[in-house]
């Protein structure tokens, strides 16, 4: 039996690509790629720590790009962002199939990895759309439109483009409370930000940070929302299918103000 080699990487996309690089470079036979943050107590394994180097990552991605379409590349990235446990290994095996195939030949859609990848990519894609819909900005005193979200998958990198394009003339922050980082647009570029010491922030400090009209507009929106329901057609099941309860927390119209 071949001993397994476990490659431990830092959790970034570049880090993952570097792991692939090393697997090819060292011709590792049965590799497993795993995030640093995931503990592992397996016996009979060799562990290797991967150092993330942009150049190596780029080489792998470049090779992948040559043999895939834009859509396939996008799906690949989406699947990575799903953060599903063990997803790195599906991606690796898929990448190996791609590197083996001849140029310009279509892919067989009934391949197991490919089915799985298109499935997960669709799930992540759906979450991206949800976040584009469910972000609710609140205007702060310093004229920044601020929103909290808690998506199922790590979709912030996927929604940057949409929000930057649409809200080009206002400053905004979208903060992922589950992954504890956010994106900030300062009218020029989008940057990744983190907050220190979030614990000190209470509901009242937050209210005080609002711009003067903020609460009024939230009330107006809720008034609007209440008045567009046609009661004789009420359909709670359908409603919950569209907006599952776990998203309600950050939806203005689902909270009394």
């Amino acid at each position: 039996m071949n001993p397994q080699t476990v490659l431990i990487y830092d959790g970034t996309f570049d880090g993952f690509l570097c792991s692939v690089f090393i697997i090819y470079e060292q011709k590792i036979m049965s590799p497993v790629i795993r995030k640093e943050s995931q503990t592992n107590n397996q016996l009979f394994t060799i562990t290797e720590k991967v150092i993330t180097e942009e150049l190596k990552a780029q080489r792998v991605w470049h090779g992948f790009r040559k043999k895939t379409t834009r859509n396939e590349q996008r799906d690949f990235f989406k699947v990575f962002l799903s953060e599903i446990k063990g997803v790195e290994n599906t991606l690796l095996s898929y990448m190996q199939t791609i590197f083996k195939k001849k140029l310009n030949k279509n892919i067989d859609f009934s391949n197991k990895d490919i089915l799985k990848i298109s499935q997960v990519a669709r799930m992540v894609g759906r979450e991206k759309h949800r976040m584009e819909a469910f972000v609710r900005f609140q205007l702060t005193k310093d004229q920044i439109y601020f929103s909290n979200i808690a998506p199922d998958f790590n979709v912030l990198p996927l929604i940057i483009h949409h929000f930057k394009d649409r809200y080009a003339d206002q400053k905004w922050i979208i903060y992922d409370t589950r992954r504890k980082y956010g994106i900030y647009y300062d009218l020029q570029t989008v940057e990744v930000i983190t907050f220190e010491n979030l614990k000190g922030i209470t509901a009242t400090t937050r209210k005080n940070a609002y711009a003067d009209d903020e609460v009024s507009f939230q009330k107006l929106w809720n008034t609007y929302f209440k008045n567009v329901t046609i009661k004789s057609r009420k359909n709670t099941k359908l409603h919950l299918q569209h907006i599952p309860k776990r998203y309600w927390r950050y939806l203005t119209e689902k909270n009394n103000i």
Binding site: R136, T229, H242
Partner: protein, 420 residues
């Protein structure tokens, strides 16, 4: 802004607008220019959903619910005793911008009761759109309702600022319109539609010569019909719809189950069931006509004047044409595969792709995601195992119904019980 007053107006004027089912914000494309506010993408976003499960993507309100007319089916009609309100132009602009900036909406859908006369009303609607575009540099979606009887010149202006224009035909037949909206003339509806169509065509030709011709209603026009207010059958409705699609290049026709809002002998009484299932069947038919290559006379004709409520129109068509089935999934052309009950357009493309590599069998078809509980009776594939029995359509129908539970089952039972 005086928020309390605005809040009251908003509740009145949103409430009055909600019976308009047209909610699409899609189909247009407007890029964000010069770092302004907003864009309109080809796929509109539903930012929220009402408790009856409808998409909320636009701020949909009336400018005012004062009206000089008295259409029987409308809550806003003159003789109805309700609270009236009117927004100022700037108020609508502010609401739209502030909602948009908070990512509540994709844009504005503005309609109005008719005050003074059609042109005067339309002018106010246009001012809102114009202010949004020119003063606020707003590139989000704007849908204006064209007021029946508006002059051509105003329709042209409206199209310059709006993404979509619509005139609701409301009542599918001319006789129904006479009965329920005596003040309105059929031509008043037709004229603005004709104008919009001509302007769009003109825009497209001019566009070829001069690149900077201003955009004219890039998302086209749509209309809405009320279903079940007068006695028209499904055939009348779908033939009218087809007429509007063809004649005026409509993007969408909406079908809205009539919700009784008034006591009037000419109409179903308050409390009657909203014909949701029928509405749904009409949308399915609309879909089959627009995307599946069916012609309207295949689905509705002199012998088949109404859609079945218990099964969808495609299955119903297939059961009436059993002699065309079964088809071989590995050989049939796209047109026929699209006609198999239980196979959606998405799956059609997947089948065409996948069968290039191998002959498909039941497991493949299942993985592709087609609804085998219906499709299995109409197809053969790479398997010796398929449905061979020659059965009567009604037997097959019973078989299929037994194995599938429609999400509309509940309504179906309710509506059936109305007749028993």
């Amino acid at each position: 802004m005086l928020f309390e007053r605005i809040q009251e107006k908003l509740s009145i004027l949103a409430d009055a607008a909600k019976y308009d089912v047209s909610c699409a914000s899609s189909g247009g494309k407007r890029a964000n220019t010069n770092k302004g506010l907003g864009n309109t993408t080809a796929m509109g976003i539903c930012h929220s959903y009402t408790e009856d499960g409808r998409c909320v993507s636009l701020l949909k309100i009336l400018l005012t619910n004062h009206c000089i007319y008295d259409c029987a089916y409308c809550v806003t009609r003159k003789s109805n005793d309700i609270k009236r309100a009117a927004f100022k132009i700037q108020e609508v602009v502010d609401l739209t911008i502030n909602f948009y900036r908070r990512n509540y909406i994709e844009g504005l859908f503005l309609s109005s009761g008719i005050f003074k006369n059609p042109d005067h009303t339309m002018e106010r609607l246009i001012s809102v759109a114009k202010k949004l575009r020119l003063e606020e540099n707003f590139n989000g979606y704007i849908h204006l309702k064209s007021i029946p009887g508006t002059s051509d010149e105003l329709m042209r202006q409206a199209g310059l600022y709006a993404d979509r224009l619509s005139v609701n035909i409301e009542i599918p037949t001319v006789s129904g319109l006479k009965l329920l909206a005596p003040d309105k003339k059929h031509e008043d509806f037709i004229k603005p539609m004709e104008k919009v169509k001509n302007e769009i065509i003109q825009y497209k030709t001019e566009r070829k010569i001069i690149k900077s011709t201003p955009k004219f209603a890039p998302a086209g026009q749509s209309t809405q019909m009320i279903i079940g207010a007068t006695g028209e059958n499904d055939r009348d409705i779908m033939y009218s719809a087809t007429y509007y699609y063809k004649k005026f290049n409509m993007r969408r026709v909406y079908y809205s189950g009539y919700i009784p809002v008034t006591m009037d002998d000419r109409l179903p009484s308050i409390g009657s069931e909203v014909p949701m299932l029928r509405e749904n069947r009409l949308y399915q038919t609309d879909w089959l006509l627009r995307f599946y290559g069916f012609s309207v006379s295949e689905i509705l004709n002199d012998t088949h004047k109404n859609l079945d409520l218990d099964i969808d129109p495609k299955l119903s068509w297939a059961l009436r044409n059993l002699d065309l089935f079964p088809i071989d999934i590995n050989k049939a052309d796209q047109r026929m595969i699209a006609r198999v009950p239980g196979i959606g357009m998405q799956s059609v493309y997947k089948i065409l792709q996948a069968r290039k590599f191998r002959n498909l069998d039941w497991t493949h078809l299942k993985a592709i995601g087609i609804a085998l509980n219906r499709a299995q009776y109409f197809i053969t594939c790479n398997s010796k195992d398929f449905f061979t029995k020659d059965v009567e359509p009604y037997v097959l129908k019973r078989k299929i119904l037994k194995n599938s539970k429609s999400k509309y089952h509940k309504y179906y039972n309710q509506q059936l019980s109305l007749f028993s």
